[in-house]
């Protein structure tokens, strides 16, 4: 009987087993520690490795014209994607895939190599459904087809510069797309799922609590009427092409509410192919580029003179037969005339006559009326990159300004400012905020905000003055003056031509043989429904450069076609004797 050994087993054996129990308790302590102190870091890690997200792309809203015709929209189009890490041999994959997606095998191999350690790369964006089916039919591991939202611009070139475009990342970079990016832009949703740990990452179950649905973008309705827009685009294109102009711009506005019905330029571009055009062409020139207006500016100063009472419509002014020196500044007229009344000065676009008018008004009055018509400040149309034009402050005006500003020199205006000012003359003297956007709708198409009522900025002219300008002076321009080529059979057009020399960008003075021919017109004179401007910039001189030749016919055509389309009733020309009506058979 060995008591010693039994004691050892009792004491040491017992001690070992008791220690073991304490070690187990210690491991419980370890678990407590893990849950208390390391839990946050570990659960974050678990989340990052177990939960995967699938982006659910939201749909960017549409840009539509005033009648809901689509100018910009979004459609889903298949794209070919790849996960190079899932491919067996990237060489054979490239070899098989290349002919189907129409890419060079080497290029494809390069794409795969570059993204070898990524789980995702784009092989080709936006393929045709037939190609997508062909790729699916190959069923290569690691190559798949997924729909991606593609921005489409069904209306093409006519509206390109107005609508603008969206970059590859889906953000608006120009035009309305940029201006209303926040409203149009969709918010992508995501679908969260728990994935297994394999390379192929199978989803196990969805985590609705971490998922959110996509939020589609709202829509924007423009005041543009696509038909009028197309008319203007065509006419402007024809004008620019037939006179070899660098560019031409045309705007049509409803003078009664300030809605821009059309705003086109040539050369233009298709928004879908924005990347292929020169950034200089991407600008909406009607809003972003200010140039010296020339004689088209005369009606604004002249109406200011009438309103200010410094000239009487019946008063005759001696126009010095074509040449006059105003304090050393030589001013010429293209059509030398002797004495002209107020209407005559505008009809024959006499620079000398306007010089005298300017002298009577004085700088301050000229400046006031110019600013009053909204020149030298942004119109508030709401378009990214709008130019305020250039009207220098009164204290920098010299005695030359007195004769230069009335004939549209020493300042720069945008085509939009010009037509907006002209609309004020046309509608009886109220300057309205020009509008390009008619309203905003949410993603389901319900209106969020609509702008339909006219938004007066200020009254610029008394009704009578505006009426006189429109129905007498500017009608006379069309009947006898430079606007003859814009005359229409059914509607009485009123307008004003202008031919400006192109000023140097970087220094004083004018470039030789560089002109801008412009025409401001509206119809019908009795109750104007439309006003329009066409500016033809740098036409080839020998083909013609006067506004009356290069721009007036275009405005005539624009008005004719647009008024027909809008079903504006013809107004009988004023000089048709009233008795003619009796010849109509009685109803």
């Amino acid at each position: 009987m060995d008591v010693d050994q039994s004691r050892r087993l009792r004491i040491f054996g017992g001690a070992i087993l008791v220690a073991m129990c304490f070690a187990f308790v210690g491991l419980i302590g370890r678990l407590v520690y893990l849950h208390t102190f390391d839990s946050r870091k570990l659960t974050r890690y678990v989340r990052s490795q177990q939960i995967g997200y699938t982006i659910l792309p939201g749909r960017r809203g549409c840009v539509v014209d005033r009648h809901g015709r689509m100018l910009a929209g979004t459609q889903n189009k298949p794209s070919v994607m790849a996960d190079p890490s899932m491919m067996g041999d990237i060489g054979t994959v490239a070899e098989r895939l290349a002919p189907v997606v129409g890419l060079d095998e080497g290029v494809l191999l390069g794409v795969f190599r570059k993204n070898q350690h990524r789980r995702f790369c784009r092989v080709r964006r936006f393929v045709e459904p037939v190609e997508a089916d062909a790729v699916r039919a190959l069923s290569i591991a690691g190559v798949f087809v997924r729909d991606e939202p593609q921005r489409i611009y069904p209306s093409g070139q006519p509206v390109g510069p107005v609508v603008g475009f969206v970059g590859f990342e889906g953000r608006g970079l120009e035009g309305i797309e940029k201006q209303f990016d926040g409203h149009l832009g969709a918010k992508d949703g995501k679908s969260a799922a728990v994935y297994d740990g394999r390379r192929s990452r199978r989803p196990i179950w969805l985590r609705d609590d971490l998922s959110c649905p996509p939020k589609d973008g709202g829509h924007v309705m423009l005041t543009i009427d696509l038909v009028v827009q197309s008319i203007v685009y065509e006419e402007v294109r024809d004008a620019a092409e037939s006179f070899g102009a660098r560019y031409a711009v045309g705007i049509v506005m409803d003078p009664n509410n300030g809605d821009v019905l059309a705003m086109a330029q040539f050369p233009s571009y298709e928004s879908s192919f924005f990347a292929e055009v020169n950034p200089g062409v991407r600008r909406n020139l009607a809003i972003t580029d200010a140039i010296e207006p020339g004689s088209t500016f005369k009606p604004f100063v002249a109406s200011g003179a009438l309103a200010g009472g410094v000239i009487d419509p019946g008063e005759m002014i001696d126009c010095r037969n074509g040449v006059h020196y105003f304090g050393g500044q030589r001013i010429r007229d293209t059509k030398p005339k002797g004495a002209l009344d107020f209407v005559g000065i505008l009809t024959y676009s006499s620079n000398i006559g306007m010089g005298f008018v300017g002298e009577r008004m004085g700088n301050e009055m000229i400046h006031d009326i110019v600013r009053s018509f909204g020149f030298g400040r942004r119109t508030g149309v709401g378009f990214a990159g709008e130019s305020p034009g250039l009207v220098r402050s009164l204290d920098t005006w010299t005695s030359y300004s007195t004769h230069s500003v009335p004939i549209g020199q020493e300042l720069a205006v945008t085509p939009l400012q010009l037509v907006t000012g002209f609309a004020a003359i046309a509608n009886g003297g109220t300057l309205l905020r020009p509008r390009l956007v008619r309203g905003r709708m949410d993603s389901s198409g319900d209106a969020v905000e609509m702008w339909t009522d006219p938004e007066p900025v200020r009254r610029v002219l008394p009704e009578a003055v505006a009426r006189f300008m429109r129905e007498r002076a500017l009608v006379q321009v069309v009947k006898e003056g430079g606007g003859r080529r814009s005359a229409l059979d059914d509607w009485q057009v009123f307008g004003k031509t202008g031919t400006a020399e192109v000023a140097y960008d970087d220094r004083a003075g004018y470039e030789p043989d560089a002109y801008m021919g412009a025409y401001l017109g509206g119809a019908p004179a009795s109750d104007p429904a439309l006003v329009a401007v066409v500016m033809v910039y740098r036409p080839v001189k020998k083909l013609g450069y006067y506004g009356s030749k290069v721009a007036a016919p275009a405005v005539g055509q624009i008005l004719k076609r647009s008024l027909s389309y809008l079903q504006i009733p013809a107004d009988v020309p004023a000089d048709v004797p009233a008795g003619d009506e009796s010849e109509w058979p009685a109803a």
Binding site: D4, L17, R30, L31, L34, H35, S39, T43, Y45, Q50
Partner: protein, 408 residues
């Protein structure tokens, strides 16, 4: 004694408790197997098919309970030291264990899994000889240490034979399975300490033991790497630190209450060996801290009742049975301890299963034998005690129990 007076002969409360605890742990194992074996694209009938992993584990658990009950009826005295060398059951067990450990390397019989030679396949039955090595070690050491008792009174038992036996088993197992070798060394050392070996003599064996472990460590470079990785598992969470990080991730994602049985995610190819070596992490994930504490509590209870059995055997002056119960308890306790320490990243990663819970038949059955033997010790001890009490024996010697073999 008072307690045993109340206990009718033949009933064994400690043994019953131990079997119930073991059965509870096996049940946990079956439930976790049902959870970890679930596949996404599997039907319920496929999941619980007769040849499926869940039913397989259930069958093994039922077989394990049967094995426990059978072995609890076998008096461990069967394995005690016999006078004649060739009749030593322990000697033959050792021989068989060593033979099987070598067989692992024989092509056609040995089977490679995860790049390690740990398995023997005989037809459809797979078998891990290292499991037998654990039982052999305990039985052999108990027999040897109890045998030396009477040879020279108050003299510590001889160290040479047990040290060589431990060393041989450790090295043979350790070539392919470092974790189990460490467990064998731990259990062996524990038994030498508890069995009455001289500390001085044991100290002399420390140097060769350390040498052997360093050799086993350096033999496979991945062991050194694992050891270094353990120091900073976040250095390469997707490479070397992957097991540890995934294990902690599973534990943490369970939180206090757990994700719910079957709702774990880490078993979907995140946590390697989620059904076997890292099943405790899945328990933590699905049953939470509280469930994991219950499992640990079961092990504590098991060790506690094992200790009670040891003590009652000692009280009965039955060294051999006491050492058997002690050894078997330490095998299960130490292995559970090491496994949970690995899973909770207290110890570097080794391939070692959670006793009675992890998936796998060999382990389950051999641990059932171990539990059965502890129960048998308790049973026979009680029977001896009750007989002593009932008969009110005058003589000092307890005849059926005490070793009367002459010195060989």
């Amino acid at each position: 004694m008072i307690q045993s007076r109340k206990t009718p002969p033949g009933t064994t409360p400690h043994a019953t408790v131990l079997v119930v605890i073991a059965a509870a742990l096996m049940t946990v194992g079956v439930v976790m197997r049902a959870s970890t074996a679930a596949e996404l694209d599997q039907s319920l009938t496929g999941h619980f098919a007769w040849n499926g992993p869940v039913m397989r584990q259930l069958c093994f658990a039922i077989a394990g309970v049967c094995v426990m009950l059978i072995f609890s009826r076998i008096d461990p005295v069967l394995f005690r030291w016999r006078g004649i060398f060739l009749f030593q059951p322990a000697f033959w067990m050792l021989l068989v264990a060593i033979g099987l450990l070598v067989c692992v390397w024989v092509p056609g019989i040995g089977h490679e899994s995860h790049g390690r030679h740990r398995w023997i396949h005989l037809g459809p039955v797979g078998f891990q000889p290292s499991e037998l090595a654990k039982l052999t070690l305990v039985v052999g050491l108990a027999a040897f240490l109890a045998r030396t008792r009477k040879r020279h009174a108050n003299e510590p038992p001889d160290m040479l034979v047990p040290a060589i036996a431990i060393g041989l088993l450790c090295v043979l197992v350790g070539i392919e399975d470092f974790g189990t070798a460490a467990l064998l060394a731990l259990v062996g050392a524990g038994m030498l300490v508890a069995g009455g070996c001289s500390f001085k003599a044991m100290f002399a064996w420390v140097i060769p033991a350390v040498g052997a472990f360093v050799y086993l460590l350096l033999e496979h470079p991945y062991r050194v790497k694992r050891l270094l990785t353990f120091l900073n598992i976040w250095k390469d969470p997707k490479g070397d630190g992957y097991h540890a990080v995934q294990s902690l991730a599973a534990i943490a994602s369970g939180g206090w209450a757990g994700r719910g049985l079957g709702a774990g995610i880490s078993r979907f190819d995140y946590l390697p060996e989620s059904a076997a070596d890292f099943v405790f992490a899945v328990i933590c994930e699905e049953a939470g801290f509280f469930g994991a504490t219950v499992v640990i509590g079961l092990y504590i209870a098991f060790v506690y009742f094992g200790l009670r059995v040891v003590r009652s055997a000692v009280r009965n002056n039955d060294l051999f049975r006491g050492l058997i119960a002690f050894g078997m308890t330490t095998v299960i306790g130490f292995q559970a301890l090491i496994n949970i320490a690995v899973v909770t990243v207290v110890a570097p990663t080794k391939g070692i299963a959670l006793p009675l819970v992890s998936a796998g038949g060999t382990g389950l059955l051999s641990f059932s034998v171990a539990v059965g033997l502890i129960a048998a010790v308790d049973r026979s001890t009680r029977r001896a005690q009750s007989r002593t009490v009932v008969e009110e024996v005058e003589e000092d010697e307890r005849v059926p129990v005490v070793n009367v073999e002459p010195v060989t």
